[in-house]
């Protein structure tokens, strides 16, 4: 669900290995053909996509942590079942995406190691804490809402396996957003204290959610190449604007105030936001957000504590194979 600032490409395709093939490749992209795993592709296309898809996968996996934090404390069985299903979906999304990334030639183990070692990035939004139950509502409503804006165009991305994975993800994502909004509606119709909790969550999440769309267009690196390759179909600012315009009336419905006193509607009907604090974004991406260390530590612990399961499953498969070989030899 969560790409963010990930869709920047690794340089352009200058000095590409084979000009004629590169031209043919671009012609296929221009004709809206899908590129499949065994097709020829420029090295930079492969590298860009491997990074984007695997970082997207890492984001799904790390994204289970802030919400998993509330499963045991959900206020009712209905909410608990829905949250559990949502977190399971995030895991599934991570797995679809890892499988898509692997088709580009990097093994699952290498991809996962990249995340655990801190070398690969994941969406900065998951480095913020979930302090109250209203945060779970806000994540579904806004974080998943922003993710949907980002992901719908990815269903038409030029790389076949990624586009197909995104179609599955998008189908499931709409439940996430609706369950989040329902939590917000319930809180906002509740006691004054509950409504204040909802407002507080919106106050904390609003700006980090706007940052999910990545840096503003004028400073976004290499985004031209991703656009040329049809990995990216809309710019960061276009998607951010679409998201804000869709969200303002929803906040009004809830009776909540978006924490941007300078926000105003222009003559085209678009809501213009105040400047975003990009230093905060850079700090969080650099590893200095409120929860970066916790998140990585939790992933490493889970990976290490699961090692014996992976080893046992491998040993069992080996044992069965050798027994079958022995029986066949008899």
């Amino acid at each position: 669900m969560y790409t963010q600032a990930l869709n920047s490409s690794d340089g352009d395709d200058r000095g590409v290995e084979d000009v004629a093939r590169a031209n043919q490749f671009q012609a296929r992209i221009d004709a809206d053909e899908r590129i499949e795993p065994n097709d020829w592709m420029p090295a930079a296309y492969r590298k860009t996509l491997t990074r984007q898809i695997s970082q997207h996968a890492h984001s799904e996996i790390v994204g289970m942590l802030p919400e998993g934090n509330w499963i045991t404390r959900a206020p009712s069985l209905r909410r608990k079942a829905a949250l559990l299903a949502k977190v399971q979906d995030e895991c599934g999304h991570g797995l679809y995406l890892y499988a898509a990334a692997e088709t580009l030639g990097t093994s699952r183990e290498e991809l996962v190691d990249g995340m655990l070692s801190g070398k690969a990035k994941y969406s900065s939004i998951f480095n913020y804490p979930t302090l109250t139950w209203a945060d779970i509502g806000t994540i579904g409503w806004l974080v998943d809402g922003a993710a949907i804006m980002n992901q719908i165009p990815l269903c038409r991305c030029s790389y076949g396996p990624y586009a197909r994975a995104m179609i599955r993800v998008c189908k499931e994502e709409s439940f996430h957003q609706r369950q989040g909004f329902e939590i917000m509606v319930t809180l906002c119709r509740g006691t004054a204290e509950q409504k204040a909790m909802a407002q507080n969550a919106l106050d904390r999440w609003w700006w980090p959610v706007l940052m999910m769309f990545g840096p503003p267009d004028q400073v976004s690196q290499h985004s031209d190449t991703s656009t040329k390759w049809k990995i990216k179909r809309f710019s960061n600012d276009e998607l951010r604007q679409k998201f804000i315009d869709a969200t303002v009336p929803q906040a009004e419905f809830l009776g909540l105030t978006i924490p941007d006193p300078g926000m105003k509607q222009n003559e085209n009907g678009n809501w213009e936001h105040s400047p975003i604090d990009w230093d905060e974004f850079k700090q969080v991406l650099a590893g200095n957000g409120p929860c970066n260390r916790d998140r990585l530590a939790a992933r490493r612990k889970a990976h290490e504590e699961g090692a014996w399961v992976r080893e046992a499953a491998m040993a069992y498969a080996e044992k069965r194979k050798s027994r079958q070989r022995a029986q066949a030899a008899e």
Binding site: E36, N38, D39, W40, A85, Q88, D89, G92, L95, Y96, A99, E102, S107, R108, E109, E110, D113, R164, A165, R168, E172, A307, R310, E311, A313, M314, Y316, A317, R320
Partner: protein
Amino acid sequence: MATPNVPLWEVFIRSRNGLAHKHVGSLHATDATLALQAARDIYTRRGEGLSIWVVPSNAITASDPAEKGMMFEPAETKIYRHPTFYDVPDEVGHM
């Protein structure tokens, strides 16, 4: 330490009686039993299927995309294999 490579499986699901199994994605599992269980968890969380096949990826023989021109050219030039190639007079109606 990186875990050794766990085998890759391709997953096929038959959604309803009467339809064919369709490729839905892939997963890693050490053996067929675990692959089936993982396929159930990953690909059928919303009643997507009535039957699952898992096939070791390396057991699949695929046509070479570089040769797709030669491979599929014979059919491309035989448009008379399609019903729309034939003219049926309007008076006859739907056929």
